[in-house]
């Protein structure tokens, strides 16, 4: 089969590799019909994530048709499914509490060592996202082996377009969980840093959860325009002093809840960001946390901080004093995708959540390397690229 493989920084290629087969009884093989490039794939593309090996197949947002099932899979051949990016067993203590991304068994035993050393305990496995998260082949391919297929994938009713439901795999539940973690109360003002897909879904989710105002912060005009479409007020941080604007827009109080949907590759020429960039390139610090710093400073006293943004290592100059003195609450983590799927599928079917607005480009899977470069170089125009293995190359 053809699959998009990582070969180094800014070097991804379409490789020909063996088709995957059933290995374990709960496996299923999915023939991919749609797969997206995620903002977090750019972290891999830019070489920020350790434990990548040449030839690793990328992609953790995908859906397709079931073509093979193991003896203990509950799926049936021919079913269309969306697959969560988190690989969780459904039978351990954490899965029992619906903390799927904290699954004890999703990571192969040998791969658990790195995460245990870095984080204290190993987390769930992830598709196509380095060997620290299991070394599982990802979904930017014609076929994928899906472990624990009786727990993760959600079956999509006939007649519903791929483009409508594909984002159940990651970014929609991630945006939704981010809003849920902001513990929104009616009348709240919520500020969202980053109008990428997660930020835009967080904007929609925050309104559905009762926020009175949502203020979206970015520097790409096209992305800010999308946030505006859903009723958000906007701040372009290149034109406006963000903290001052947030304070003025909230009558000197600050937002009740803040959501950092930017993460470890924050853009922008802020002094702390430039220092972080130098440190990241010399391995003195791994993450560039400008947005979370600003969010904590802006958040109102006693407010809530939600951090869906991906951080992998250590940060410094974290405003721990402001965090403590103001008595803030922080909730964060990889998304417990499986927990949210049934409810969010319903919300899509009932028209409460718009998903297709996000897709700016559709292209054949074979054009994936071009897609990565476009997504990396043109973040204003490119909001989401969906790759279709079945689409003819133009």
């Amino acid at each position: 089969m053809k699959a998009l493989a990582w070969h180094g920084k800014h070097d991804v290629r379409m490789d020909t590799v063996d088709d995957p087969e059933i290995v374990n009884p709960r496996d299923a093989i999915i023939k991919v019909t749609s797969t997206a490039i995620c903002g977090s794939d750019l972290h891999l593309y830019d070489g920020y994530i350790p434990t990548m090996k040449a030839g690793d197949i990328l992609g953790h947002e995908f859906m397709g048709e079931v073509v093979e099932v193991g003896a203990k899979s509950t799926l049936k051949k021919g079913q269309r499914v969306v697959v969560p990016f988190t690989i969780a067993c459904g039978s351990c203590y954490h899965c029992g509490k619906h903390q799927y991304s904290a699954c004890d068994n999703g990571l192969p035993a040998d791969n658990q060592d790195i995460a245990q050393t870095l984080y204290g305990q190993p987390m769930s496995g992830l598709f196509g996202y380095s060997h620290m998260t299991g070394g599982y082949a990802g979904g930017q391919a014609e076929y994928v082996r899906v472990p624990f297929s009786d727990v993760g994938p959600i079956v999509i009713p006939d007649g519903v377009d791929d483009d409508k439901v594909l984002f159940l795999s990651d970014i929609l539940p991630t945006g939704w969980q981010a809003a849920e973690y902001a513990q929104i109360e009616p009348g709240d003002t919520v500020a969202v840093w980053g109008c990428g897909p997660v930020g835009l879904f967080a904007v929609q989710s925050a309104f559905l959860m009762g926020a009175e105002r949502v203020i979206a912060i970015d520097h790409f005009p096209n992305r800010l325009a999308l946030a505006k479409r859903f009723g958000a007020e906007t701040i372009n941080f290149e034109e406006t002093a963000t903290y001052e604007a947030l304070m003025e827009m909230t009558g000197g109080i600050g937002p009740d809840a803040v959501i950092d949907a930017v993460g470890l590759e924050a853009h922008g020429l802020f002094v702390d960001n430039v220092i972080d960039q130098i440190k990241a390139s010399t391995f003195l610090g791994t993450d560039r946390p400008h947005s979370i710093r600003q969010a904590i400073i802006a958040c109102r006293k006693g407010g809530r901080v939600s951090m869906p943004a991906v951080y992998g290592g250590f940060v410094d100059k974290f405003p721990l004093g402001a965090f403590m003195e103001k008595g803030l609450t922080l909730k964060t983590g990889q998304t417990h995708v499986q927990h949210y799927l049934p409810g969010l599928l319903n919300a899509i079917m009932e028209g409460k959540i718009d998903t297709e607005f996000l897709i700016s480009h559709r292209m054949p899977l074979m054009d994936a390397p071009k897609g990565y470069k476009m997504f990396h170089d043109q973040q204003n125009e490119v909001t989401k690229i969906v790759l279709k293995p079945g689409m003819a190359q133009g």
């Binding site: 590799v17 063996d18 995957p20 087969e21 059933i22 290995v23 374990n24 009884p25 709960r26 203990k72 690989i87 067993c89 459904g90 039978s91 351990c92 203590y93 029992g96 004890d104 068994n105 999703g106 990571l107 192969p108 035993a109 040998d110 791969n111 658990q112 060592d113 496995g125 299991g134 070394g135 599982y136 082949a137 082996r145 472990p147 624990f148």
Partner: protein, 193 residues
């Protein structure tokens, strides 16, 4: 040696001082070995099920990566063939020195073992969380200190193995399978669990 009267409540094997193996040896009916490894894992299954599976030593190679074969000699004795660093194997005959259903299995290697060892595996009911399984192993590293370094390089060092084997035991009992990124059964074989 530390004053016993002021020792904390942590397991002996987590002590920073060097007498952990001596302290643990006192807990065993018969002890052999001067290095200690201790690992605990909580498994979301009833204690009886786990004990029964584990006590049938013919099940152990299904999750112990480096165990090539275990021959059951009689009710108390079993012969172990285990992969060694560098490609060879090491062997020993283990004898059960103490056993309590759903609670404990203690063993010691008999004379002539390539890697003299002893230890126990304990099972403790943890209510809604399942069962806490703890393995504590005393052993003499093959060819002393250098052997331990070599073993670590080949990831066949007992501390690494015990940790990974217990995780695989947990995976097998909780999910019915062992998690792997392998793309096909052949690759799974090559990866070795």
């Amino acid at each position: 040696m530390a004053d016993e009267s002021v020792r904390d409540d942590a397991p002996a094997a987590t002590a920073k001082s060097g007498d952990a193996s001596r302290q643990f040896a006192q807990e065993l009916p018969e002890a052999k070995g001067d290095q200690v490894v201790a690992r605990s894992v909580t498994i979301n299954r009833p204690v009886g099920e786990l004990f029964t599976f584990f006590r049938d030593f013919s099940n152990l190679p299904s999750f112990m990566e480096n165990v090539v074969r275990i021959d059951i000699l009689d009710e108390k004795r079993s012969h172990w063939v285990v992969k060694a660093p560098g490609g060879g194997t090491v062997e020993w005959t283990a004898r059960i020195t103490d056993e309590a259903p759903n609670t404990l299995i203690a063993w010691i290697s008999e004379e002539g073992a390539d890697v003299p060892n002893s230890g126990h595996v304990t099972f403790r009911d943890a209510g809604a969380r399942g069962t806490v399984v703890s393995a504590t192993i005393l052993y003499d590293p093959p060819a002393g200190f250098i052997g331990k370094i070599v073993a670590k390089m080949f990831q066949r060092e007992p501390a690494i193995q015990a940790r990974r084997d217990l995780r695989r035991f947990k995976q097998l009992m909780e999910t019915g399978e062992i998690a792997t990124p392998a793309m096909n059964p052949k690759q799974f074989e090559e990866m070795g669990l």
